[in-house]
Amino acid sequence: MSPHSFFRSTSFRLLAWYVVVFGASVAILLFIVYWITLAALDEQLSDSVERETQVLVELYRARGLDSVERAIQLRAVELRPPRRYYLLQDTAGTRIAGNLPPMKPTEGEIVLPVSQLFPGRRAKPDDPADAYPVVAHGRKLDHGEFLLVGENRYRAVKAQEAIVRAFGWGIAITVLLAAGGGAVLGVGFLRRIEAINRTTRSIMDGDLSKRVPASGGGDEMDHLAINLNAMLDRIQVLMESLKQVSDDIAHDLRTPLSRLRHRLEDARVKAGSDGEVVIGQAIAELDAILETFSALLRISQIEAGARRAAFSDVSLGQIVSTVSETYAPVAEDRGQRLEAIIDRTLSIHGDRELLTQMVANLIENPISHCPAGVEITVELRQEGGRPVLCVADTGPGIPASERERVFRRFYRLEASRTTPGSGLGLALVKAVANLHGASVELSDNHPGLRVTVRFHAAGAGGARTYPARDATGVAHGVAQ
């Protein structure tokens, strides 16, 4: 399994979702904690400021302004944060005591930004412990003096920082754990999917005895494996019965037909000149029946794919050029011209015998269905790294509406009903192409017909992947 395939896999997508959802829930949780903590700290702060104000107000009432002034002088020298701030000013607005600049008297709770604490010194205060906004409580005293007590938000800011740090770590660890756990699960999952893919591939290659391994854990993957295996058992039974039926038909139909043929041959020898011609025709008819019948069996067997096990690397260039050379004189004798443009270096993973027959069928079609004078072009070239075989003629062509139908068994065009042939030629071409994972396409050659067979790229796992069938990225990716 390549990393490439992992990122395209279902488990990676699941894992990504897992990480996102998990991370988001942790983030929301931490956010709530953040707000609640800050609100509680701020409430505490304003409580403590208000209480301190109350204490000083009571001192004022009991002992007078001087006591308050002394108390403030004593308290305003605290060094360690959080720091307290005091202001006591007379009715004229002159500061009597405290470490804050005089200001417009405001009763109740106010928040003083850092800039207002030390006017004139705009930038940072000298002492970093002063660099926090102050929550303060103002109070008019009984004789018109103004008292302000404040405390800076040092604790709340520090708590804020701690929570943000916790946030970061929390999310990082969550994502890491989610990703790690998900990857472990995903790789296991992918490995089992790959085992299933391997099995199905070797079955497509013709080895019907392979089964998907089940871990025995009884989970969904096991159910899938068990169901797949049950399906494969069924397919194997069907394939075997197809083979059995073919063999039975072969034996029980061919044997009497053989006898019939032998008797006809005997009869021909004994019949003398009169009967000889008639019996000869009867034998020819019988041979045509037998041939159709063999072609049908052959197509079924090719479609069943049993042949893939015998694939090897074959030179497509050599096959196409040999077959073209073979048919060129045949076309010439019929007054047609066969031209071959062949890239002899091209090779694919396939079955030589079937490919030879496919190419022969493709070339025989125009030779037997086109009149004298047409030009037949056989071309084998490379297109985007894939071998492409093209057989084109300048004959009457096939109407667009009928192009798909000619691949059907026994389908024959109106025009060619009188020419010999079983109507199985293109059906066989299609079956052989499918077996090799190649596509066959009919198009207009202006004039005439052009048949194009597109193979897989040679060497790049041509026969290993079957793009028509594997819709999932996983199967394709791991086949590389």
Binding site: D247, A250, L257, S258, R259, T326, L354, G425
Partner: protein, 225 residues
């Protein structure tokens, strides 16, 4: 020639055996795989014709067994199975040739003849000769009466195959299989076309015809008696 025939279908075996006897061969016939295997192991035959589907021991098993025992007699396997893999299986088991039922007797006879003379001669001879026609396989050169004849590669292979089986009938199917490696029946006259071109080059300018058409059977290269 002494031929062993193992075939369970009485009608087919009678047809084959009678035909071969008419051609002057000695035919031993067995209807069951087990008896056939016994006879085949004994050896002493020039060619064996074995049906693939037999009761008790099947044809493939017989071929494998006698090959394992070192019997090198050429074997022609007969079969009613026309499957794409069947021929390959048969040849892999050790058979020398493979014929699908139904077949014309002439086809069987030609193949039996070709098999009987296969091992000892011709195969590695550098120069093949029929009358004044000479084919040099190394130089890939053909001359007749000392006069050089230019042949296309496929014509050369066709003539080579015919000359290797000189004096014997070679059928159309044998040519398709051995010269072109076509294991199917083409719908156009491939063999006839190539034979006629070959004839035009080999025979036309000369008094004596060397490539003969054997009616209903095939072709043969020989000096007419």
């Amino acid at each position: 020639m002494k031929i062993l025939l193992i075939e369970d279908d009485p009608q087919t075996s009678a047809y084959v055996a009678n035909g071969l006897r008419e051609q002057g061969h000695v035919v031993d016939h067995s209807t069951s795989g087990r008896d056939g295997l016994f006879l085949a192991s004994g050896g002493g035959y020039d060619v064996m014709v074995i049906d693939r589907m037999l009761p008790s021991v099947d044809g493939l098993a017989i071929v494998k067994t006698i090959r394992a025992a070192g019997v090198k007699t050429p074997v022609l396997l007969l079969t009613a199975l026309g499957g794409v893999n069947d021929r390959v299986e048969g040849l892999e088991a050790g058979a020398d040739d493979y014929l699908t039922k139904p077949f014309a007797f002439s086809e069987l006879h030609a193949r039996v003849n070709a098999l009987a003379r296969r091992p000892p001669m011709a195969d590695d001879a550098t120069v093949l000769r029929v009358g004044d026609l000479e084919l040099n396989r190394l130089k890939r050169m053909v001359t007749r009466g000392g006069k050089r004849i230019e042949l296309q590669p496929q014509e050369f292979r066709l003539l080579e195959y015919l000359m290797r089986n000189a004096g014997q009938v070679v059928t159309r199917t044998m040519l398709l299989e051995n010269v072109w490696e076509f294991h199917f029946d083409p719908h156009t006259s491939v063999v006839e076309t190539h034979i006629s071109r070959l004839r035009a080059k080999v025979d036309r300018e000369f008094d004596e015809e060397l490539i003969h058409t054997v009616r209903g059977s095939g072709y043969s290269v020989s000096v007419s008696a």
